[in-house]
């Protein structure tokens, strides 16, 4: 049943492999600039945050941010491009594969992009900064990174399916995706929020993702609740993305 999905995913990975070097330069540059500017530039002004140095506090978030951003961007732009510019989605749809297989392939591709690029940024931060963690923590961290990338890949599929104009895709990214990431405690602890706002922020799956990922990587503390919240939202987003894609293509 998944032969078609695998074939499309394989195609996307072939294209990624061809452009990996140029992509990596752009992917690594952004979080690394943030890390150098905030983590190193501001560390003299900001002491310990939640008991860890500021540069250590933001490092896991930057890796996670890179991964989910890459997953979202790849799914959105790839689907939009294949649907509106190249019309390749149409050419997939006249073969004996199901619509669900196309969605699964695109989610898998976004997810793979996220994972590859997130790990690349992680390696660079690890190589050029004093940020260190135990390899055992990595497993717990991946329990957040994998469903998190999948969640944003699904969100990307929904946007790439529903949005017809490229400028709208940019607006959605600026109005929803970036605030979701930045409000979830990537650069500051949740305790900075007014007490009555904190429950709302905690309800965001991105908060569970960033908080859970940080605790897992830095201190090896695994929050099952946060992991389940991210995983459950990812499953929900997957169902929604398949349903929306089917609906859109049947129009």
């Amino acid at each position: 049943m998944f032969k078609g999905a695998f074939a499309i995913w394989r195609r996307d990975m072939l294209v990624l492999r061809r452009s990996i070097l140029s992509e990596m330069v752009a992917v690594v540059a952004y979080p690394l600039t943030i890390y150098l500017a905030f983590g190193i530039g501001m560390k003299g002004y900001i002491g310990l945050v939640d008991g860890v140095p500021y540069s250590l506090f933001i490092a896991p978030g930057l890796i996670t941010m890179t991964a989910i951003n890459a997953a979202y961007s790849e799914s959105t732009w790839s689907l939009w491009f294949h649907r509106k510019v190249q019309f390749t989605i149409e050419s997939y749809r006249v073969t004996p594969i199901s619509v669900s297989e196309i969605v699964i392939a695109k989610i898998l591709s976004g997810f793979s992009h996220g994972l590859v690029k997130g790990l690349a940024v992680g390696l660079v931060i690890f190589a050029i900064t004093p940020f260190r963690f135990s390899p055992v923590h990595l497993l717990a961290y991946l329990a957040f990174l994998i469903p998190g990338s999948a969640l944003f890949s699904c969100a990307g599929v929904i946007c790439g399916t529903v949005l017809d104009k490229p400028e709208t895709i940019g607006r959605v990214e600026a109005i929803f995706i970036m605030p979701l990431i930045f409000m979830s405690g990537l650069f500051f602890p949740l305790s900075s929020y007014p007490a009555n706002v904190v429950p709302w922020i905690r309800a965001l799956p991105t908060t569970a993702l960033f908080e859970g990922a940080r605790h897992a990587l830095v201190s090896g503390v695994f929050s099952m609740n946060s992991a389940l919240q991210v995983a459950f939202t990812a499953v929900l987003a997957f169902g929604l993305s398949v349903w929306i894609f089917r609906l859109k293509t049947s129009e």
Partner: protein, 308 residues
């Protein structure tokens, strides 16, 4: 011969707009069938329903006996589609484009590698198989799309305006190939080029406003329009007077006078001798057979007004 494509009262509505209106059609297996119609006539909607890209509002459509509503996957296994847009993947080489299509059809590598080699050779693309489609000319891209559609050996091939935008040489090359595969599979073709339909198709349907308005071979359609044969008679003068003489004759179906010329429509060519007798003594300078073209048929049925 059993039908490759059948539709019964096929209707597709987009809100208030009826794109297909109780459309009935039967396409024989192994034939080359042409579908003509002005812009917005419903041709692409019909192809989208038949290729299972879209569901009809009501009515039935069958491809190779399979219902488009319940056997989408099976139908897609049997059909090849050349869409209006090239829909080639510009990030894959020509060969990779074909390999991806083969995998989507569940073909095994040993099976598709050989077939790709054969088809690339046949279509004159073998030497450029490692190049990206963006570097191809329009004709080569079109040939690559046709190659892709033929890769899995479909039983029914849908060609939606296959030569739009091609230069005459590339168009001829595509025509030659379509002719060469005619008979081995059913070919369902939509086109704006009436010459293309005339050259290629065994039977032609003309549709407008979602309805079938004419169906037959090229000759049958021409005969239906003319009700016979048209001749252009050029006189030394007094064409109006001779036109009036001819208008009263029983076998004359229509008369048009332009300057010194009279265009006369006859029931059949046998009437010509009666016409010549009636014009005895008239200053006839030239009599020429005026062949009706498919374009005449098309315009007479769909009107000359430009569609949006």
């Amino acid at each position: 011969m059993p039908a490759a494509i059948t539709t019964h009262s096929l209707t597709k509505r987009y809100g208030d707009l009826t794109a297909l209106d109780s459309f009935d059609l039967e396409v024989a297996q192994g034939s080359i069938f042409g579908l003509l119609g002005p812009n917005g006539a419903g041709k692409t909607t019909l192809i989208r329903v038949l290729t299972t890209l879209m569901r009809q509002t009501s009515g039935e459509a069958f491809v190779d006996g399979l219902d488009t509503r319940s056997s989408g996957r099976e139908i897609r296994r049997l059909i090849g589609v050349v869409p209006q847009e090239n829909s080639l993947d510009r990030y894959l080489t020509a060969r990779e484009n074909l390999e991806l299509h083969a995998r989507l059809h569940g073909m095994e590598p040993r099976q598709y590698r050989k077939r790709i080699d054969e088809l690339l050779e046949l279509m004159g693309l073998a030497s450029r198989q490692k190049d990206f489609p963006d570097t191809y000319s329009g004709g080569m891209q079109r040939r690559l799309v046709v190659t892709r559609a033929l890769l899995h050996e479909p039983r029914v091939l849908f060609l939606d305006e296959p030569t739009t935008g091609l230069d005459p040489q590339s168009r001829r090359a595509v025509w030659d190939y379509i002719k060469s595969i005619g008979g081995s599979m059913t070919i369902f073709l939509t086109t704006h080029y009436l010459e293309e339909a005339e050259q290629l198709c065994d039977r032609i349907a003309i549709m407008d406003h979602g309805k079938l308005i004419a169906l037959g071979s090229t000759q049958e359609l021409k005969d239906r329009l003319a009700g016979g044969t048209f001749y252009l008679i050029e006189f030394g003068g007094d064409a109006e007077r001779y036109g009036a003489v001819l208008r009263d004759m029983a076998c004359v179906r229509g008369i048009e006078v332009h300057g010194n010329s009279v265009c006369v429509g006859l029931e059949s060519w046998e009437c010509l001798s009666e016409v010549i007798t009636a014009l005895n003594g008239a200053p006839v300078r030239r009599i020429a057979l005026r062949e009706q073209t498919l374009e005449d048929v098309f315009l007479s049925l769909t009107g000359e007004k430009v569609r949006e």
